[in-house]
């Protein structure tokens, strides 16, 4: 790839395919029609009616339950819907064994083995923490257990730990895309920012977000500098000292990857110190943990991230009926709006259903795991969040990343995205392409994406 040296910002953003406003394309799959609503064709061959056992691991207690409970709820909803049609291929009803990810990494690995060896699960799904996915991934491979992680999105999993997965798939966008998406949103909305303050939870996610945001912003807005760094522990509730320090460095922009209860505590305190009046604020997860966790007092115009994955208001209205009907059914079942974990868990089961049906058409009867896997590889799927594509080389799901600006609308008792300012970015333009050298081969960057940006992105001149 040629390396332009004096591209303008607008040219480069156009080249990345960044779309802002309500006109963003949803994806190429729209022609196929919504598979979730497609009438079931009778399966080929004889299908056993034994239950299809699924292990769902997610956070059911502790601070991350705000992420995890919606995951289990959406998994349950999808299972109920599929079971109402008789189950997979109309015969095999989904039974779920749930487990609490808050038990800790070692306990999670033991639970995964127990689920396979004594409960004999057919599918393992869920997983939120990027601390857990690198420990669980290799075990899924070792147990030859078909697995669809719905988060645990660290680049590290497929860059280093399981570089050639067979049984393991993952749906959420990879972590590096999160910080880069916020950087692109920043460059597009506020190209004049120069002094940047950071506050991130001190673990792999916060470090990854800060690193990739900075890599991208340095290229998109030359001359930026970091004026304040803050690394509170995950689960911190008092941010007063960090807020005062940020104010003292007089930044143009604050970038944060705080999430869940941490973000709620942070923005409430920052409001009272007048922080939002004095600088722009960009986030990766302000609206991600749960859309309804944020109050109407949240300032408008904040670049509000959703882990670069999904907010239930987008694609909105009647433009993408799959989303409208998913949100409607989820709301009816659980009396709340889904978060991105919910969308992922829901999509995982329907995507598998699609793959099983395709495999059945080819092989007849209940397909072997290998047949299902070969259908999942390269599968393009219309999910509530848009079009998602499973890359065959690393089994990673890719969909356009999305971010928006907070705004209070009369329709919801919490802030949502300003429907006219939603930014979408084709994911292939901000992630390393297939076969890009992994860390530890020809380079020692933290991720393949970091090396790819350093090698191929131009420094913008104006």
């Amino acid at each position: 790839m040629e390396k332009p040296t004096n591209a303008s910002r607008r040219d480069f953003l156009n080249k990345l395919g960044v779309t802002a406003g309500a006109a963003g394309l949803v994806g190429a799959g729209a022609v196929a029609g919504p598979p979730l609503l497609r009438a079931a064709e009778p399966p080929k061959g004889k299908i056993p009616d034994t239950p299809f056992k699924t292990g769902h691991l997610t956070f059911l207690s502790g601070p991350a339950a705000v992420l995890g409970e919606p995951s289990l709820k959406a998994h349950t909803l999808a299972a109920e819907e599929i079971n109402a049609q008789g189950g997979f291929l109309g015969k095999r009803k989904i039974e779920t064994v749930k487990a609490d990810e808050a038990a800790g990494t070692d306990a999670n690995v033991k639970e995964l083995r127990r689920m396979k060896l004594s409960e004999n699960i057919d599918l393992f799904t869920g997983v939120i923490s990027s601390g857990n996915s690198p420990a669980l991934g290799p075990v899924c491979e070792e147990l030859s257990l078909l697995s669809i992680f719905t988060d645990g999105c660290t680049d590290f999993l497929f860059d280093k730990i399981v570089p050639k997965p067979k049984y393991l798939f993952r749906l959420t966008n990879i972590q590096s895309a999160d910080g880069i998406t916020s950087a692109i949103g920043t460059a597009q909305a506020w190209p004049k920012v120069r002094k940047i303050a950071h506050i991130h939870p001190d673990y792999s996610y916060g470090r990854n977000a800060a690193e990739h945001f900075t890599l991208a912003i340095e290229r998109l807005i030359p001359g930026t500098q970091t004026v304040s760094e803050n690394w509170p522990a995950l689960g911190t509730s008092d941010f007063t000292a960090q807020i005062t320090k940020i104010l003292s460095s007089e930044p143009d922009l604050l970038f944060t990857s705080l999430w869940g209860g941490d973000y709620v505590a942070f923005y409430k305190q920052a409001l009272r110190y007048g922080l939002f009046d004095k600088m722009k604020v960009a986030t990766t997860l302000a609206f991600g943990a749960a859309p309804h966790a944020i109050g109407k007092d949240h300032p408008e115009g904040v670049l509000a991230g959703v882990h670069a994955n999904y907010h239930f208001t987008y694609p909105g209205g009647d433009r993408w009926p799959i989303n409208k009907s998913f949100v409607g059914r989820y709301y009816k079942r659980w009396n709340e709006y889904p978060n991105f974990e919910a969308e992922g868990a829901y999509t995982a089961l329907y995507m598998l259903k699609d793959a099983i049906e395709r495999a059945n058409k080819l092989t007849g009867g209940w397909p072997e795991d290998d047949a299902i896997i070969s259908q999942l590889e390269g599968l393009g799927f219309d999910a509530p969040s848009g079009y998602i594509y499973i890359r065959p080389d690393n089994h990673q799901g890719y969909k356009d990343t999305v971010i928006g600006f907070s705004k209070n609308l009369a329709d919801y008792p919490f802030p949502v995205w300003d429907p006219d300012r939603i930014i979408t970015i084709p994911v292939r333009n901000i992630t390393a392409p297939p076969d890009w050298p992994k860390p530890g081969t020809t380079h020692n960057e933290s991720t393949a994406a970091a090396n790819w940006i350093k090698t191929t992105w131009p420094k913008i001149s104006t």
């Binding site: 705000v66 803050n230 522990a233 689960g235 911190t236 000292a241 003292s248 409430k268 009272r272 749960a290």
Partner: protein, 292 residues
Amino acid sequence: MAILVVQVLNSLFYASVLFLIAAGLSLIFGVMRIVNLAHGSLFAVGAYVAAWLVGRAIAMGVPAVWLLLLMPVAAFAVALIGIVIEPLLLRPFYRRAEEYQLLVTFGLLLILEDLMRLVWGGLPLTADTVMDAIPSIHVGAQIYPGYNILVLAIGVTAAILLWVVIYGTRFGVLLRATSQDRRMASALGLNVGRVYVAAFAVGCFMAGLGGAIVVPSHAAVLGMGIEALILAFVVVVVGGLGSLKGALVGALIVSFVRTAGIQFFPEIELAVLYLIAAFVLIIRPTGLFGTA
């Protein structure tokens, strides 16, 4: 300069909350020789009850200033929980080895954390209407929330009251006597059981009050009790477990060093607190004011 003043106020605010938690933990250990691992969760219960009460009261149209009175109500609710827990759960274990006490209070921690999730759900619970009832003040170009000053005042008042009670009243004498020699106190006709319930309730009240007054400025979230417990342990390790003076000095040290760490060494913000604790443990294993 304004920044320095605000950072000092921030540290004192944080120290007030830390003191309320750590003093309760220390008091309970001082009198009953039990390390209550569920202490942080009782702090969290105080926060949740306060936030819940505030939510109810707002729904009923109670004016914002009156909501402040709900803070002690939440603290009393936690004290009531303490009155139930001590005789039922803890008393059978005083004569057993410390491991059993740790197991029981750790079990209690897990139960309380799950109960909070069952009752109040996984979403953060907020009560910031209370905070906005008190106007902000200006420190140079900086804004400082008036509510935080109130929290600071409550912390100072609680410390003074606790001193008066322990060193100036008959109840305080009974507490100290029991703390120094339980058997002798009992032999002299003291109802040790009642002293224990009272001490445990006071400790729980302080934890609950800490949670209640902090929730308007933060938010009640799952896991906040664990964070509070760890910080309270750092405080008592520095100050000395069982010493009120230790809890006060420990809270101030931890709070000011944390602020300094945030301001000057953000990369090791997490480690700074443990470094102080490790340092104190090496030069004075009983803590600055510990005796045992």
